[in-house]
């Protein structure tokens, strides 16, 4: 039984591997382009596509039940929470001038008005 079943899978795995190598080439190539502020989003987007392909095909998530989907996606949901809440803090800190914060206890209220 084994031989007939083995080859179709071989083909789909090899295609997946080839796709991952193309994406690696793309991300290295993109790092040499003058993308400015877009360099980071482009690198992140390619990385996420690669992660998705590895999880979906190599980690067999596509063949698993919906419950496994929830658990595998759950980790990334928590990761997103970690990023959004942390960055929400750091990105908005500059709105309160540092020195005023030290000397004026109502600086936070003023800055938000």
């Amino acid at each position: 039984m084994a031989h007939q079943e083995f080859h179709p899978f071989l083909k789909s795995y090899l295609k997946t591997g080839a796709a991952l190598f193309v994406l690696l080439g793309a991300t290295v190539g993109a790092s040499f382009l003058p993308l400015g502020g877009f360099a980071l989003p482009v690198a992140a987007a390619i990385a996420f596509v690669k992660v998705y392909i590895v999880m979906w095909v190599f980690m067999h998530v596509r063949k698993e039940s919906k419950l496994v989907w929830v658990f595998s996606a759950g980790a990334f949901l928590w990761l997103a929470v970690l990023f959004v809440l942390t960055m929400a803090d750091y990105v908005t800190r500059a709105e309160i001038p540092k020195d005023e914060w030290k000397t004026d206890s109502h600086a936070a209220e003023k800055a938000l008005q």
Binding site: A2, F21, I46, V51, L79, L82, F83
Partner: protein, 217 residues
Amino acid sequence: MSAATPASQRSLAEHFVEVRQQEEARTIGMWVYLGTEILLFGGIFGAWAVYRYQHGEAWREAAHHMDLWLGAINTAVLLLSSLTMALAVHAAHALQKKWTLLFVLATVSLGTLFLGIKAYEYMQEIHHGLAPFAAPIPVRQAFTPATELYMNLYFAATGLHAFHLISAIALLGGFILWILKSGLSADRAATLEILGLFWHLVDVVWIILYPMLYLTR
């Protein structure tokens, strides 16, 4: 689960009703563990995001000192190892002992190659005074606090990743000995599937670390 092995060939633990339920339980259990691993590295990813936001220019400058091509070769090596790992799991479910051993061995070899290249890279970085903890005092003074932070995060992130890869290589090495000693069965194929999930996760972490540390220049 890969459907290649008939459920009738599996042993069923007494607290499960059927093999499918048993397989799903262990797959979910593994994913819960992998979730904790993703969040463990998530702390490093989060720290990177914060410092990159605070020290954008200094960090872009520091990233220029990374060897982009060694990193790219290592990414290719790990991607290839994920392919051989997936093939090993498939061969195991088809109960093809020879192919299973061959693909697991290829996976372990590629993992070891990655560690070798990484060790060479570390040596190069230490040699060029890029490692804050190993640099002589005069070289060390050339670091700004922000670039020192970058290099320390680089060594912490890649070191933690290398530790995971060493664990994964040890687990697969144990699997090879197990199969050589007492043969391949449907149950052992299911075990390899779980070990494979861990291997792929180590690959997934590197897929994120590579652009983060080498390419955001």
